[in-house]
Symmetry: C2
Subunit: 347 residues, 2 copies
């Protein structure tokens, strides 16, 4: 039992100086309002004692009073640091950290949350969520029910990525504007002379997938081209390529990076050159994960770091009582790349 010597408290300082605890508190906080009057001599005496003891106010007691903690929580459904997930989380966290630093908030990672079938749970007996003034929720898989409960309990939070409405109302969220990005890419493709373009993927289900499809559809309408949707799930790249040819499509927009890799490989096997014979637009939104040589894909970049920063920003505003819009949609950067070119036979 270490029997740690009790921390110094304001009471201690007060006794040392022969003043009251209240006085110490006021000196500490530089209170000098109309009502509060402390002569410099007393101030100096107290400050000297503070200096000599190295006293620092107990932030926990402060929080209990002020009802805020200057801490933002970062809740992730998976561990943050393991390598597999790092590529995903890292840019968000970089932005979160940067802005928290600017705003003077500390960050708490809720690593103590119990893991229930593969994902952490926000709510559980002894949840320490309230340590934070507010929370940024982050993750590939975000639990709608938990978000709904956050809303119901009035706990301030901002979701990064997921922005669909939950039962109790719209969720404060920062998202990426997939729709515009994909639409723009389709328009460029049409502008290069392609007359039929293919969407490879589901285009439904997760919000982000539905958005990509929506953007694709919008771009197709704008560009006045024909379009076809090719399912990739459960089919190998060969089948997909066959369908592509069959439909006469000259450009493919691929949702899933895994499919992209498979298609590139299959093209290589068949001697189909990209972009000379077929164009490929990659809709993953991330830089390539592997260091292996991959084509310089045409596509877009999700502004992950900026999303993290804006999430913190938004959270701070909400805590400040700001009643402005609670959803921010950030533009994605278009990557010109080298896998999109004019089709071989322009009509």
């Amino acid at each position: 039992m270490g029997k740690e010597k009790r921390r110094t408290t304001q009471q201690d300082i007060a006794r040392m100086t022969g003043v009251s605890q209240a006085t110490v508190s006021m000196v500490l906080n530089n209170r000098d309002d109309g009502e509060i009057r402390i002569p410099q001599e007393t101030r100096d005496r107290v400050l000297a004692a503070i200096q000599s003891t190295g006293y620092v106010a107990n932030p926990i007691a402060r929080s209990l009073i002020s009802q805020d903690n200057r801490i933002f929580g970062v809740f992730t459904y998976e561990s943050v640091f393991p390598s597999e997930d790092l590529d995903f989380y890292h840019p968000f966290l970089a932005g979160i950290e940067r802005r928290a630093e600017q705003l003077g908030y500390d960050l708490v990672l809720f690593t103590s949350s119990p893991v229930v079938d593969g994902g952490r749970k926000i709510f559980h007996a002894g949840s320490r969520l309230r340590l934070a003034d507010g929370c940024v929720v982050l993750g590939r898989r975000v639990d709608r029910a938990e978000l709904a409960r956050l809303v119901a309990e009035g706990f301030p939070f901002v979701s990064v990525g997921r922005r669909d409405d939950v039962a109790a109302g719209p969720v404060a969220a920062v998202g990426a504007d997939y729709v515009s990005a994909v639409a723009e890419l389709v328009r460029r493709t049409g502008g290069l002379g392609h007359r039929t373009v293919a969407f490879v993927g589901e285009g439904a289900g997760p919000e982000s997938s539905a958005d990509r499809w929506a953007g694709f559809a919008a771009g197709v309408a704008d560009a006045g081209v024909r379009s076809v949707r090719l399912r990739a799930k459960g089919r190998d790249a060969g089948e997909v390529l066959d369908s592509l040819v069959e439909h006469g499509a000259t450009a493919m927009f691929v949702e899933d990076p895994d499919d992209t890799a498979a298609l590139v490989e299959e093209c290589g096997r068949r001697g189909v050159r990209i972009p000379e014979d077929v164009s490929l637009v990659e809709l993953g939104g991330s830089p390539p994960r592997t260091a292996r040589a991959t084509p310089d894909f045409t596509g877009f970049r999700i502004p992950r770091e900026e999303m993290g920063a804006q999430a913190v920003d938004l959270l701070a505003r909400i805590l400040g009582g700001d009643r402005g819009p609670r959803t921010r949609l950030l533009p994605c950067r278009i990557v010109a790349g080298a896998t999109l070119a004019a089709p071989r036979s322009t009509p």
Copy 2:
């Protein structure tokens, strides 16, 4: 002003149920000791109210009483997430996170600490260090004075990497055993027939550098070979190689990865083959940072993740009052690699 509706408190639950706040607290904590008696009927009533409101005890008030917070601080002298520093911090953090998760601690990152000429400061007016029960200190540049103050104030902390003594006594720390690793590499080199080996670098200054030199010296003694130390600071790779040849050394142990890269390049220019003409042992301790093709260097790996985990572990023990050893030195893994081989002309 949001006029956030006040959080539910035990007092609220008490009023709803017609019991006292104390009873609510006891039900909540499942108190059932000899002195505490609460019939099941009452218990159920209270629990029902807790369920319906979703009440969770305010962790801040709890902390104020229990004098602990179930939070470990992670103090870094630089931002954690920016890409430049990520390679360095990430493995440590992965280990810290993993073990904190296992032990049920949350982690707080002191992002609010003010930055003074390039590095964050632990101590400052309004330091929120005490939010944490203890702290892991991490960083390339660790401030001795601040560590000393942590010791003086009796704040529990564990330093990762830096383990030298500070004024007030030995610092709890987790380090990597560079000495053994480098010594072993030198012995292997001697075992392959090398008679003269060179240490390229300072071998002094930062603890880790001094350790590498100590290990080199120990290995040289064990292996019974001759050794030479070549400064690299301010000299270009050509000069260093010239010295090497001049001294008749057939293997070089290079401290700094930048020097390694320069030497490899210079060897390439001169047509000196590695390891056929000269062996190279890389003492950086990290996997290569760039994705560019680099030789598969012989060297060792600092067990960064394990260091992070053990730091948390040690911190938990210290908080538990454990009086055991406060310094842990973890073995490095030797990487056989492909840049060490027998010298061309074995005597």
